[in-house]
Symmetry: C2
């Protein structure tokens, strides 16, 4: 009796999966390829596809199937694929069935139009181009939150990115981190990073980045790298992984952004093929995803051993580094100093950028802050937390895409990802005694395999908190992260020459 | 009473439209951007989206709405948008409701996998990579044709591209054309086209093509130009027109392919915005579409006046033309000589390529020809009709994409498009006395506006035969086309230096 029900479940979930990936392609295309005047049609097309997926997730048909399959779920071993499938489908169904399909459609359309408006606002350096879109999205998010009347409004949004996470836990984590980070930021030595200022030919950067990515594990038959205004990664299948970055002539931020996005891409690439065409076939949560991007970008990608391997290639690509000793470069890319742009921030001050965004979006949602006052509030908080005042909206409120595409609730997962990345890294190092040497030799296979084995292959098979226990051996813990930062700062101070 | 029904019709047709455009994006992406190992997931995702569109077109809900709206259709003026909407929706519904959704899904999947196999077959120069895909598609096409038991099998396929066209009419047209073309091909003077052989830097070609397209009417805010193995055009909206071409270092075929695809793109770009998000918002038929691409590629793009304007730019881009007089170049690009590759064929012998494909695909469908014998049959017919034998499958059966993506029945519309292009051109010239001078001055606005006004804006609002009457003042007529070819051949013979 349960066998046909499971088949029907798989067919329905497969259809939903296909619609979601179609919408991911539309989103990827919008940010990389689409001509600007395609925005209106695209917003509607994507909204329709997402609504059809939503209707299926919320459908009574899925609800009835899940009821029918409850005995299977209860009788199956916790780790069975079928049990995981039913569990995840049930969670998605229970959330979606509270939200009217029209609201989901409208949110998608508003997010899509918001991306177009954000690009135009950046072009014109004018927040008012974006403002009505944020206002509309907040209005829709209020309606969305009201669909979950017994929950804290911000919890509702957070849960869309981080199943089971609570605002109060985030606040507690941030409260623990903030004084430590502020103290660390004050303890750091001054570092000369003048070698990172100059003019770096885009073509040379791009060719260096592609070589580097190939060494990390990027393959032409299943990966792409494109330009996007705001870097992101997307996977339309394990054999179709799409990274983006934004290379700048004035600095190397785009190189690190590419390594960051590689971490996201590798996660999706290494999901067990047996999960294909199910809702399990993606990363378990935003924080776990971000743990992977930050692990590659920072823990690996800003390490001395990593650059021992790659620095000769960078020197070939960008001859101005010929006279810059590796140690000078290494110290420069690890300089701790408050900065205006989040994605280019150092590892210590990065989370202060997150805290300020978290506070601002909570104020927006609680109507304690008006959208028209957002640019000034952003600048004021940046000055309060980092001592810097943005010279313009591009370096201020318009720097991130997230408030333009209706991703309220997403920012905190960046900071959680930083914390988790070190919990995972400590375990990987314990299991892989040669890891440091591997990095220095440009051998990334063992690390990739370890991550596949312990994290990536599971996709969404376990709730994020349980998966964290499995991969890191414990719950969220800022200890490893703070130890790592203290060690790095101390080492930079010691090696100060 | 009818007002809400019309609203419901528009909503349903809008949803179908959005799904179709999503599938167009997936197809465009597959041929331009997708990494090869994304093919399997893409085939399934696209098949799902097309099936969902098909289910809606075939649905009883749409049938009931159309019944309800019959009085509106009968009471409305023939030219009203609402009447056209109901008429086209009825046609699409009646066809789709005969075809099981699973078959439509399977055809889409097979077509998508066929594209991937064709790319691999070309890479490996091995027809056997593609063969099982063609066999599978023929099997599916047989099942498709059986859904229309009272019609000629080839008529069924042809009607998908050319509403109302009959195989017998195509045969009659071809029978009239063939002896004329063969005679013309024998009457042409020998022409020295050695200036078109050499090495033409791809980067210079691309920059020349983009300049040229901008002069024709391409705008960066709503068009793109990408590389594809086999050139095509697609439009995801009137503000999102995507051309592709395939530039070759050894010849300029990709330049003319780009002008060809511009013709397709302009048609979609100039559709009345009032038709947006309806099934009317695309070209009326494949032959009418092809009339536009061939008009721009050949009638405009191989004219002396056109190159009087563009030749200085070509010389700047490709200095090897500095010593080649315009007249020599003009004669070279109009040289009539049997050739192996259809898309690079001259205007006279081009249709012989079509005739042979039309005959072969009819034989395949009628089981008079086995797929395994197709490469040899292709080569034999090419030799019979054009006196040339392909040296390999790349120049033979693997040169076109159409049998790989299940587009049986499409080829004849190319030849019809050639015929129609001259019927339309004669009318445009009669209405635009300055047209020749315009071309020479690089002024394409008047021609674009004329085409918009008399053809493009209508989209699918009229059946193709009726639209042809409107734009060309009569039914399909090879007279203008043959007059044009004779004139051109005579002129080339006269100006022979």
């Amino acid at each position: 009796v349960t066998e046909p029900a499971l088949d029907r479940l798989r067919a329905l979930l497969g259809e939903i999966h296909d619609l979601h990936r179609a919408s991911w392609l539309m989103a990827w295309d919008q940010e990389t390829m689409m001509p600007p005047r395609g925005a209106l049609a695209r917003a509607q097309q994507r909204a329709t596809v997402v609504r059809l997926a939503h209707e299926r997730i919320a459908s009574d048909a899925l609800g009835a199937l899940l009821d029918e399959l409850r005995p299977l779920e209860e009788a199956s071993p916790h780790e069975s694929l079928d049990a995981a499938l039913v569990r995840v489908a049930r969670r998605d169904h229970e959330k979606a069935s509270r939200v009217p399909a029209e609201l989901q459609e409208e949110l998608t359309r508003a997010g899509s139009l918001g991306i177009a408006a954000w690009l135009e606002a950046r072009e014109r350096e004018d927040f008012d181009v974006l403002r009505p879109h944020i206002e509309r999205q907040l209005e829709l998010k209020h309606r969305y939150v009201e669909c979950f009347p017994h929950e804290d409004p911000y919890d509702v949004l957070l849960d869309d990115y981080e199943e089971g996470a609570k605002t109060a836990d985030v606040e507690r984590t941030f409260a623990g981190l903030r004084p430590e980070l502020v103290a660390l930021a004050q303890a750091v030595p001054t570092v000369d990073d003048s070698c990172l200022q100059g003019s770096f030919a885009l073509r040379s950067q791009r060719s260096f980045v592609l070589d580097l990515l190939h060494t990390l594990g990027y393959r032409d038959d299943s990966w792409r790298l494109d330009r996007a205004e705001h870097p992101f990664a997307s996977a339309l299948g394990t054999g179709d992984v799409r990274l983006t970055t934004h290379l700048h002539e004035q600095h190397l931020g785009g190189v690190f952004a590419a390594i960051h996005e590689f971490g996201h891409g590798l996660y999706e690439h290494q999901i067990d093929p047996a999960l294909a065409r199910t809702p399990l076939a993606t990363g378990a949560s935003s924080a776990l995803h971000e743990s992977q991007s930050r692990l590659w970008e920072n823990v690996v990608g800003r390490s001395r051993r990593f650059w021992t391997h790659f620095y000769p290639g960078l020197r070939r690509a960008l001859p101005q580094f010929e006279d810059v000793p590796l140690e000078t470069f290494y110290r420069a890319i690890n300089k701790v100093e408050p900065s205006l742009i989040r994605v280019d921030a150092d590892e210590v001050t990065y989370n202060l950028h997150i805290v300020l965004r978290f506070e601002l979006e909570r104020d927006l949602l609680a109507d304690r802050l008006q959208t028209s006052d957002l640019p000034e509030a952003f600048d004021a908080k940046l000055e309060e937390y980092l001592g810097l005042r943005p010279p313009d909206v591009l370096h201020g409120v318009l720097q991130d895409l997230h408030w333009a595409d209706a991703s309220f609730g997403y920012f905190p997962t960046y900071a959680l990802g930083n914390v988790v990345s070190l919990q995972i890294w400590e375990r990987a190092r314990a299991d892989l005694p040669d890891l440091d040497d591997d990095l220095e030799r440009g051998e990334f296979g063992p690390l990739r395999d370890w991550l596949r084995q312990h994290l990536h292959r599971y996709g969404r098979s376990f709730p994020p908190a349980e998966l964290l226990e499995r991969v890191a051996g414990g719950p969220l813990d800022a200890g490893p992260y703070l130890r790592y930062l203290r060690g790095k700062v101390a080492e930079l101070a010691e090696s100060r020459g």
